[in-house]
């Protein structure tokens, strides 16, 4: 791929080959000297945002304005070297794009990078950029963070304006980012959140039993020592259960809420263009088109109850500690049926923050047989800075 500003030797298939989106960073600023990439759902003025689908790309015009998040990063001195591959229309958590290929997971060769912010995670994990922008609607930053061994945040819903990105489901869409080190992660966070990230620490750790029950035994085992260290840092921890009934049930309700909105966002284009889509992506749209108003009402009511149930658990700066994904990255190219269980389990974990609109950070601490397995901290709405600061402290304490 040639690029107006740089030549990228993309051995990871992380970057969009038909895009030459490049932005010079401001000469001075808090991110001067850092390079980044953005998932191909972020607009860059003058370029068509591809959204991971060739028919999307040919049926849309070049963006008039650069996405707000991209703009603030460049103004802060970071240099954007390109756009990265995404699961088409941000639909998917495994990162296998049928049109453009699967970005390599540098930490787990032969395995998926996770999605939908697959290329961003791949590029950061492979050292091609210092950090990268992604988005997280149903897990699209958290899952690739876990699979590729990166820091990654799903911020509080509404915290980072979505201006200039391809929308999936506005009630769940968030902008997140990836980095290899907590210090870099925090520097970027200060710019994106437009806020200082001072030292901070949760008041209490709640170890989510029902979330750990969903994880493979080896994953739970690998995370356990880190849960202990984190609990020790805080000095106040307890076990707790997230769901009154089951996380799988919560997942099903969250699925309906997100997919109804996803269908509403896409249906006009699907009707007009009849585009090529990966079978399971199309299948999901087809299923979403059949979601009833009664199902949406029921799901909204479950969501309201869940928010109410979780409020006291998280109040006053408490943090839930849980596995980010139920297993490490699975091999590339598995069948849909072979993936069905892992897909559900991962979504049963990611739906929690989605239903709450709460921030969740992935800590790339553990490994299972050499494969990254992420540990998550989830705080109350607005606790983004605290989570990032605490991640930085944890990293420092583990190094010392």
């Amino acid at each position: 791929m040639t690029n107006f500003g740089r030549v990228i030797d993309d051995r990871l298939n992380a970057f969009c080959r038909d895009s030459d989106s490049y932005l010079e960073g401001a000469a001075e600023g808090p991110l001067a000297g850092l390079t980044f990439a953005a998932k191909d759902i972020f607009d860059v003025a003058g370029h068509v945002t591809g959204g991971g689908n060739p028919d999307w790309k040919t049926t849309h015009e070049p963006a008039e304005k650069t996405a707000r998040a991209v703009g603030v990063l460049a103004e802060a001195g970071a240099e954007m070297i390109g756009k990265t591959i995404t699961d088409e229309l941000t639909r998917g958590i495994f990162g296998e794009n049928a049109h453009y290929g699967t970005p390599v997971n540098p930490r787990a060769p032969g395995r998926v990078p996770g999605g939908s912010s697959s290329g961003s995670a791949s590029a950061v994990a492979g050292g091609m950029v210092d950090f990268a922008l992604g988005s997280d609607t149903g897990g699209s930053v958290r899952v690739p963070s876990s699979f590729c061994g990166l820091y990654g945040l799903r911020p509080t819903h509404g915290r980072i304006p979505l201006e200039g990105i391809l929308i999936q489901a506005p009630s769940f869409d968030t902008i997140g980012w990836f980095a290899r080190e907590a210090a870099t992660f925090a520097r970027v966070g200060e710019v994106l959140l437009q806020s200082e990230i001072q030292e901070a620490r949760p008041s209490r750790i709640v170890v989510a039993e029902d979330a750990f029950e969903l994880a493979e035994r080896a994953v739970a085992g690998a995370l356990e020592p880190f849960v202990d260290k984190i609990s020790a840092l805080v000095g106040n921890s307890a076990a707790g259960r997230i769901s009154e009934t089951s996380l799988d049930e919560l997942r099903a309700h969250q699925w309906r809420l997100q997919n109804r909105e996803g269908w509403e966002s896409a249906r006009g284009w699907l009707d007009r263009v009849n585009p090529r889509l990966k079978f399971d992506v199309a299948e999901r749209y087809a299923a979403a088109s059949a979601i009833t108003d009664a199902e949406i009402e029921a799901a909204s009511s479950v969501q309201a109850d869940f928010v109410e149930r979780m409020e006291p658990m998280l109040a006053g700066g408490a943090v839930v500690c849980m596995p980010t994904t139920a297993a490490p990255a699975p091999p590339v190219g598995e069948s849909l049926s072979a993936r069905a269980t892992l897909r559900s389990l991962n979504s049963s974990l990611t739906c929690i923050a989605g239903m709450l609109g709460a921030p969740q950070i992935n800590l790339p601490l553990a490994e299972v047989d050499g494969l990254p397995a992420g540990l998550s901290l989830l705080g109350e709405r607005g606790s983004d800075e605290m989570l990032i600061a605490f991640a930085r402290e944890i990293e420092a304490s583990l190094k010392s």
Copy 2:
């Protein structure tokens, strides 16, 4: 496209560009001197059958044997110059392939060729070959015959062995062919049906009122003088109704029977490969996966009743006369919703022969505003030769 045997100047986008399937015809035989093409669902030994989908092509091995129908044509002296574009996995009746483009309809520029045997119809209508092989499960020979102004037959189900073709729904799949003139059409028919086509004529014409009611007024009007001429040739005609209830209801039942089988044929591959499909093709598979056994039982019972109802109407060599399609070819690139009505109307016409397993021939006699509009003759099972012979007689009588 270069080809082992010939160079094809494919200005119509009718041929598969990545295929070089070529078969020399035997030096002597009844089809010596004729050229033909085959829809890319027919195996040619040593080549991968593409099925109109790039992911099908890359996940299948080269065929070991040449399809029986292709083989008998080559043995009879016809030269096969290439494979033609099909709607992916034969799913579609409009002929717009999202992966390889839409073959040109030489008789109706800017309009679809009809599908799924789109490239075969395009190549014959454009004079690139003398005849071409297609297949018809739910209308895939009849609709493009009507749209491109060609003779085309859906033969009696089971009459031409399906050996060596990509199967969609075995209870409905048939092999058909296209030609510009009835004489050529009959010569090919003698080889494919392995039977002489002697002069023959129906005993009676039944003009299907409910089928004509589905056609656009202009189409019905354009067909009417030909119905009169055909009736006059036979000297025995009457109006009749095909369906006791409605053809749209018959269509819905036929849809379930065909699509359940289509799902059974494809589901293993869909699960294993998670391929790229056009949205409405994927949507149809998703809908088919939800068809219940009770629906299938009900549809089978409707089919049995319908066969019983039609037997006396067709017995003794009677033929139903009806529009092949409700309208001429629509413009390329319309939205799914803009096409929904025409899709249903056309399927309400094509489902009749499908439910009966009966042969139906398209006669390219009429035009509406310069666009071909086909007239169909449908006979009892086994009346293929008579339909072809009568088509030849009609053509001769109109020329004289």
